[in-house]
């Protein structure tokens, strides 16, 4: 079963946390959802398609996240991978890296879960406008970028879109169907590279930043969206700004420990920012200094 694009649905503009239901349902208390189906993307990544079991949460936009609750285990912040569809269905692609994510990845069709959100600031596609845009996705970072790439690939006008995807190995690549569709659609140039390749791999090998070098048009008038492990985003953001892309035009999606999503628990701070409120998407210009401070 392929990942179904939420066709015909325009994402709502980011208007803050969202109204939620009565008594804070979907915001301070989870809204009830159920798993409609679970699709295994790689050895440790699963995409859950979930449906509201009652009132849906307010619509999210690309780059925003929800706190997904595995009852009895805990909550984690997970980006929207797709949706919501008009009926409230949404998709979340989750990597099993801890107790809660492992529990979520183990949920089968019909299993109940809780959803709070959407929270945070997502990709600012208005700021990108019609410019040439480089999208750099590392590992699971492709997930929060996916809805944004869909929107960019639908843009009118001559602005180029280059999607550069890095992964550990070919087995760790997600959304191969989407990558093919975007490359084939003619609106988007797609390049994929892996850190480690098996014998016989004819694609690119090497760190994803190498792919930035190969785009001759990257410069002052380019915008960039970048998501992946923080060391990767730092390297790529630096490379982009070295090529003349303004730091204010490079957007990154940062990740920190989040317990509440409501800017109350203090865990997701980065300098003067609470990432659940002022992020996770921020401009590189805004966080460059904070990211360069060694946490030793």
């Amino acid at each position: 079963m392929g990942s179904e694009p939420a066709t015909g649905h325009e994402p709502a503009p980011a208007t803050g946390v969202g109204p939620g239901g009565g008594d804070g349902v979907g915001l301070t208390v989870p809204a009830r959802y159920r798993v409609a189906d679970a699709r295994r993307e790689t050895a440790d990544v699963v995409t859950l398609r979930i449906e509201p079991d009652g009132e849906p949460v307010a619509p999210g936009t690309p780059g925003r996240f929800h706190m997904l609750w595995a009852p009895g285990v805990g909550e984690v912040p997970i980006s929207l991978s797709d949706g919501p569809a008009p009926d409230g269905t949404q998709w979340h692609t989750i990597r099993a890296v801890g107790a809660v994510t492992r529990a979520l990845c183990a949920l089968g069709p019909g299993a109940p879960l809780g959803v709070r959100g959407p929270f945070g600031r997502g990709w600012d596609l208005d700021a990108v406008g019609g410019r040439d845009v480089v999208v750099v996705a590392g590992g699971i970072g492709l997930v929060p970028l996916r809805p944004a790439i869909r929107a960019l690939a639908r843009r009118e006008g001559p602005g180029r879109v280059a999607l550069l995807v890095g992964a550990r190995s070919p087995d760790d690549l997600c959304f191969a169907d989407d990558l093919e569709a975007w490359a084939g659609g003619g609106r988007c140039e797609v390049a994929v590279t892996v850190d480690r390749a098996p014998r016989g791999w004819t694609g690119d090998v090497g760190f994803v930043s190498n792919l930035i070098d190969r785009l001759p048009w990257v410069g002052e008038g380019t915008a960039a969206l970048c998501c992946g492990p923080e060391p990767m985003m730092k390297v790529c953001a630096r490379m982009l700004t070295d090529r003349g892309v303004p730091a204010t035009a490079v957007q990154v999606s940062l990740e920190r420990n989040m317990a509440c999503g409501l800017a109350h628990c203090g865990r997701c701070q980065l300098g003067g920012r609470l990432l659940c409120r002022d992020g996770p998407v921020v401009t590189y210009a805004a966080v460059r200094a904070d990211l360069e401070v060694p946490q030793r």
Partner: protein, 162 residues
């Protein structure tokens, strides 16, 4: 309009900013080549008498680990340069390189260029500087590859419990 080797050299990222006179000189050492997929550009141990400015396509750098087989290490593509062993002694290739897509290059005669650099140290310094840049860039990228940033769990990282 037919584009000469000199035109293509001037376009290539590696020689950006090089003055016209030097470009003319270098053009004399260059020729255009096309490699089909599976064609070998470099072989480990062979005399390093060429380097390649890749115009399009993809070349895979690999290491032959004997019983463990041949391991892909890195690919280079449009705008990249392949082969730096020609400028550092003992002038022998350290890796294998094979095209994995139809690849067009400007192939530079390394031996010829070495002579010209001996005669014109300023040219030599300029070329060395450019290659040093390439090596530094590659080293940094290779280190990131080594760090396995996408890997999980981050065993041994500070703060990880038992």
């Amino acid at each position: 309009m037919i584009r000469t080797v000199r035109d293509l050299l001037e376009d290539h990222r590696f020689f950006r900013g090089l003055d016209g006179e030097r470009l003319d000189l270098l053009a004399g050492c260059g020729r255009l080549e096309v490699f089909r997929p599976q064609a070998r550009l470099l072989r480990e141990g062979q005399p390093a008498d060429r380097f390649f400015l890749v115009r399009s396509g993809r070349v895979l750098v690999e290491i032959d680990l004997g019983p463990r087989g041949v391991v892909p290490v890195e690919t280079v593509g449009a705008g990249d340069v392949l082969g730096w062993s020609w400028i550092v002694p003992p002038y022998r290739y350290r890796f294998d390189a094979v095209a994995t897509a139809l690849t067009r290059t400007i192939t530079m005669d390394g031996a010829c260029l070495r002579d010209k650099c001996e005669q014109d140290p300023a040219l030599g310094y300029d070329l060395l500087r450019r290659f040093a840049g390439v090596l530094a860039h590659r080293l940094a990228a290779t280190r990131m590859q080594l760090c396995d940033v996408y890997g999980y769990p981050l065993a041994g990282a500070p703060g990880t419990g038992p």
